[in-house]
Amino acid sequence: MSLSAPTHGGMPGGILQRLMRTPGLRRLRGSRALLVGLLLLAAVVAVALSAGLFYPGDPRDMAGPAGTWPGADARFPLGTDMLGRDMAAAMAHSAGTSLTVGIAAAALALLVGIAAGVLAGYFGGAVDDVLMRISELFQTMPSLLFTIILVVILGPTTASISFAIGITAWPQIARLVRAEAVRVRRLDYVDAAVTLGMGHGRIVLLHVLPNSLAPVVVAASILVAQAILSDASLSFLGLGDPNGMSWGSMVGAGRPMLRTAWYMTALPGGAIFLTVMGFMLIGNGLNDLLNPRTPVR
């Protein structure tokens, strides 16, 4: 195993090197999934960033007649909802909310998960036991239910929703990182660092952490996708931020009109689908790219 370690992308070191070494776009040709995912993500980000530009003002204001179908009125390319709000404006403004919540929640989960995982894996023993029992405590509860309870307690704001989603998602990351840290801890260069008289902090930061992050690269994008879905679920249930628009709340609001005006549900639903799909494709694409066992196309 060690013989092939440094040249294989599946090994942690390889990942960063392979990403850095290769000129950006040429890489993408190898993985269509990654390319499509990145394009989808870029589109969503572009929409989110330009929302304020094209639709200044509050997307919740009534802008025209209620229930205009998409394409029926040139002023409202995506139509209006049952209250006469511009669907396009609402969709655009929601993109930012979804991305913010998704990324913030994933960042929190990564931060907590990586820290807990690397400490548990490196120190083992009692530290490992305590941290892993805590993570099991989180994992035994249905995470959506747990998130709902947290949001209800904390009050629905973008920050609290991100927190609630992130804090229920960290155990999976922690387990992933722990497994890697346990492997890395036994490698010779960690032993060598100990024989050099380096302290634990230095060894963890210098050797164990960077070499344990390989699987996290892939997991992170899937985590964002999951967080966006959770956020949409919360908003659909009416637990989203009441002061903001989100795709989830739009789906929820459009639900009563499903039989007469299905576009009010389908459009935000499609947006959620495309965004989540984008992150999932990026995750799969990275996996293909970084996994030495997938055949080169």
Binding site: P6, G13, D188, A192, V194, G197, N211
Partner: protein, 338 residues
């Protein structure tokens, strides 16, 4: 006073004794080889010297380095000793370097572990060290990642890391086992050169007697956690005293030039090294020894034998002369006998 004095070093895991009352010393500038089959406690000895035996294991005995007693040292001070006064080189150069850091960063990191040098000075020192271990074009290679180095080059880097803080003792645990023969010789030369130039004591742990003959001043033969023989290298190769040492030499293939000698069967030592915890009473080697007799039922004490020390009661008898390694029949005769 010697650079390193080890007295009754013992490592136990529960009831299993892995290293049993081992005593030896190493002078500054001297190379001591520790030889034995796999599982004899060689590597455990190296780890025990710097108190790095993993938790269930317990270490006993005294280790004195440069007059400093390491046995009673608190862990924080022990950490200052590791790397600074004792450097260790491991067996497998492929996993000895961190794949995500450049070689320069890793050597510099080792330099900074024991000195207050700034980043720039540490980098300069790293280049110096790489130069010292004969990495060509050291300055340019500082920024390369380990995957661009061959096995031999990586072992050189690992050695540079081990000597970064100018230790007075270098322990090399099977440093050439994972390398091919020509590279082995280069690494051994390098270790020897560094020992001479830096005045370090060198402990070379190996199972390869060829390596011993080339580099060591003195040899300590271990079996089942105990010292069975200690001699200077010429003496050991001229007249091995302990039956185990003789059998080890008999198990080494010889390369000869010219007329091929009659085909000879390599003489292996029958059986295996006993597992720690299942070491037979009396002489641990007796069950595998062709010369064993009733006297082997007691643990043989280590006896002086001229310049050498040996733990075998047969070696101490005045009439006893080192017996020729029994000649083995060549294979055709074996067949005929069947």
């Amino acid at each position: 006073m010697s650079l390193l004095e080890v007295e009754d070093l013992t490592v136990r895991f529960g009831d299993a004794v892995v290293v049993d009352r081992l005593s030896f010393s190493v002078e500054a500038g001297e190379t001591l080889a520790i030889v034995g089959e796999s599982g004899c406690g060689k590597s455990m000895t190296a780890l025990a010297l710097t108190r790095l035996v993993a938790p269930p294991g317990r270490i006993g005995g005294r280790v004195r380095l440069d007059g400093l007693d390491l046995t009673g040292l608190p862990e924080a001070r022990m950490r200052a000793v590791r790397g600074d006064r004792v450097g260790i080189v491991f067996q497998d150069p492929m996993s000895a370097l961190n794949p995500v850091l450049t070689v320069g960063e890793q050597v510099a990191e080792a330099v900074r572990a024991h000195s207050p040098l700034g980043a720039r000075a540490a980098r300069a020192r790293a280049a110096e060290l790489l130069d010292l271990v004969h990495i060509p074009d050291a300055h340019r290679r500082l920024d390369d990642h380990p995957h661009r180095f061959s096995g031999g080059m990586r072992q050189r880097v690992a050695i540079a890391i081990a000597i970064a803080a100018n230790p007075s003792l270098l322990i090399a645990d099977e440093p050439t086992t994972a390398l091919d023969v020509t590279i082995q010789a280069q690494i051994l030369c390098l270790l020897d050169e560094l020992r001479r130039d830096l005045g370090m004591g060198l402990i070379l742990i190996t199972h390869d007697l060829g390596v011993v003959a080339e580099t060591a001043d003195r040899v300590l033969v271990m079996y089942a956690g105990r010292k069975v023989e200690e001699q200077d290298t010429p003496g050991l190769f001229a007249a091995p005293l302990h039956p185990y040492t003789r059998r080890l030499m008999g198990a080494k293939p010889r390369l000869t030039l010219g007329e091929p000698p009659p085909r000879q069967r390599l003489q292996e030592i029958p059986g295996l090294v006993p597992l720690p915890g299942a070491i037979p009473p009396g002489c641990a080697f007796a069950p595998r020894c062709a010369d064993a007799d009733a006297g082997c039922a007691a643990v043989p004490p280590l006896q002086r034998h001229g310049q050498a020390a040996v733990a075998c009661h047969r070696a101490g008898l005045p009439a006893w002369t080192p017996r020729q390694v029994p000649r083995w029949a060549d294979r055709s005769q074996w067949r005929a006998a069947e």
